[in-house]
């Protein structure tokens, strides 16, 4: 009887196997879904490229109006990236190596600006700028944030700094702490170990993360809209010009700006991927 049950079961699974292997439904469905996703994203970018057209692209691309905004974007986001790296590298190392109580809770607090909509971060910057330490320091230095490039850098920094710390944590996680322990046990000092062992090993990850942070800063718009405001040819970085010119109805310019943004995003992501293996936010 036992054998009978066993053979029944076997034949059932066998039948199922044959039914499925002849159809191969699940692998086909998976690959179809992947192709659909790819087609969707390609259509998103491709339809815009077709809409703009080659001759229009050639006429818009050499104009100064584009390049003023392009270099403004590059400059401000490069500056914001520098500030983010100054905070992000030590913070990322600490998050990766040190153990402290309530890690999950504290990590959540640090990560909040990554997940809160950038528009909300821009709004919340009003309180920071108006309140105790920042206000006194900026008054002393004579820095103003409203309607100028300082404001752009501040918003980009606020949006990217936690993101940067997270990516740096991932870069340092990829370095085995044993190497550091060996270096320390052989008599090297901690700064020496960091400079000669940890940073060289994490170099690729750090450079790739810096590129991604730069791309994220260059893509910032919502926070700017509320905190800095749009002044034509002064505070309109490229994502912002997309919105301003959209409201102005200049479709050619809008699509050109938008496609340049897409090109920046894809190029920087491809560069990051080429330089350093993988990185994660959480």
């Amino acid at each position: 009887m036992n054998e009978e049950v066993l053979s029944n079961k076997l034949s059932a699974t066998e039948r199922e196997r044959i039914a499925h292997s002849s159809l191969r439904l699940w692998p086909v469905a998976c690959v179809t879904a992947a192709c659909a996703v790819l087609a969707g994203y390609l259509a998103l970018v491709g339809s815009n490229a077709i809409y703009l057209g080659w001759s229009d692209a050639l006429s818009f691309l050499p104009r100064t109006r584009l390049w003023v905004r392009f270099w403004l974007t590059v400059r401000t986001s490069a500056l914001a990236t520098c500030f983010s790296l100054l905070v992000g590298i030590p913070a990322g190392y600490a998050l990766s190596r040190f153990r402290f109580p309530c890690r999950t809770l504290l990590a959540t607090l640090i990560d909040l600006p990554v997940m809160v909509p950038a528009a909300a971060v821009g709004v919340f910057l009003f309180g920071v700028v108006k309140s105790f330490p920042v206000r006194q320091v900026t008054e002393l230095l004579g820095v103003r944030f409203a309607h100028n490039a300082n404001g752009i850098v501040l918003v980009q920094f606020a949006v990217t700094v936690a993101f940067c710390a997270r990516l740096m944590k991932a870069s340092f996680d990829a370095v085995n702490p044993r190497f550091e322990q060996v270096s320390r046990s052989l008599g090297a000092s901690l700064p020496g170990t960091l400079l000669r062992v940890t940073f060289p090993l994490a170099k690729n990850g750090i450079v790739a993360s810096a590129i991604v942070v730069w791309a994220r800063a260059a893509a910032e718009w919502e926070g700017l809209m509320l905190f800095v405001g749009g002044t034509m040819a002064k505070t309109d970085v490229m994502p912002f010009s997309v919105y301003l010119d959209w409201n102005g109805g200049m479709m050619g310019w809008v699509v050109t700006f938008s496609l340049v943004c897409v090109a920046l995003a894809v190029t920087s992501m491809a560069a990051a991927r080429l330089i350093g293996g993988r990185s994660y936010v959480w």
Binding site: L38, L125, V128, L190, P191, A219, E222, F240, S258
Partner: protein, 311 residues
């Protein structure tokens, strides 16, 4: 310089100094992160009594008054409709993203599809794409391509409608969700699945009984990432859907009104609109609601320990 540094402090003191510096930067970042939100709490309290400026009509004079905490947001039915709309659209987006994204992520993780690296780059570049660009690309894809003819032929309209919110949220939420799901599948050893297949189970059964349970925390983390990204979407919705709050109630379908989604914007758009029109306390209250939603989801992701790969 390093030598004099070493002479001044011993090796151990040096190490302590460096560690202390790293801790200090982290604590500074933590404090700044909290201060970003805490320093705005006073914006919730009304400072001046509500009054009308001569010659300036107050926006939505039948709406919330400025003279109380948070503009009295909890008594405003529009606020609750807005919360409802955010939850409903984000959940719908998450479900659609999971339906397409989980099989797609599985395929990208398991099968040798040609051009996988290109797909990865494309997906991760969506994360650093400006939201204004996403919104614009969506408008042009749906209004200026053969898809517009398809919409007219079927009578379905997507731009400036409530389903449009889901479509535009899907762009970013699918990309981020897929990176999390792909990482979750990458972490499951394909050998387990091969063993299940060699013991006679089908590819589907091996996926359902072996791979899916093993990848469960990462998959749930991906669902949360997809949900919270959808709930946080702002720029794309602004360009693709505009705002719904000022439209006449009659222009919404009976189903929309039954679900209580009429005349409401997603929370992020609502926050922007309130602040732009001078309802600052109300806008900050909506902003803090968003912060609360994000905080709960980020904490859950951390507890689950999912990984969202950027590239």
């Amino acid at each position: 310089m390093s030598g004099s540094f070493q002479r001044l402090f011993g090796k151990r003191a040096q190490a302590h100094l460096v560690i202390a510096a790293f801790y200090a930067v982290t604590v500074l970042l933590l404090i700044a992160s909290c201060w970003l939100f805490v320093s705005n709490l006073d914006q919730l309290f009304a400072k001046a009594p509500a009054g009308t400026v001569a010659g300036m009509e107050r926006w939505k004079s039948d709406g919330p008054s400025r003279a109380e905490f948070g503009g009295g947001f909890w008594r405003d039915p529009a606020f609750w409709r807005s919360v409802n709309l955010t939850v409903v659209t984000a959940t719908a987006t998450m479900l659609i993203a999971a339906l397409i994204g989980i099989p797609a992520a599985y395929a990208l993780s398991r099968y040798r599809i040609p051009g996988r690296a290109g797909v990865d780059v494309l997906l991760s570049s969506v994360i650093v794409l400006p939201s204004s660009s996403i919104g614009l690309c969506m408008v042009i894809m749906l209004q200026q391509s053969p898809l517009f003819g398809l919409q007219q032929a079927t009578g379905i309209r997507l731009v400036y409608t409530l389903p449009g919110i889901v479509i535009v949220q899907l762009v970013l939420s699918l990309a981020m969700g897929m990176s999390a799901w792909k990482a979750a599948f990458d972490r499951v050893n394909p050998r387990f699945e091969h063993v299940a297949r060699s013991l006679g189970s089908s590819a589907w059964r091996a996926f359902i009984t072996v791979t899916l349970p093993a990848a469960k925390p990462g998959i749930i983390a991906g669902l949360i990432v997809a949900w919270v990204r959808a709930a946080a979407e702002f720029g794309g919705i602004l360009l693709f859907c505009g705002t719904f709050a000022e439209r006449p109630a009659g222009s919404f379908s009976p189903l929309t009104r039954l679900l209580g989604l009429q005349q409401a914007d997603p929370l992020s758009v609502n926050m922007w609109a309130q602040i732009e029109y001078g309802n600052v306390e109300y806008g900050f209250a909506v902003g803090f609601t968003l912060v609360l939603i994000s905080a709960v989801s980020v904490y859950t992701i951390h507890r689950l320990g999912g990984r969202t790969f950027v590239w």
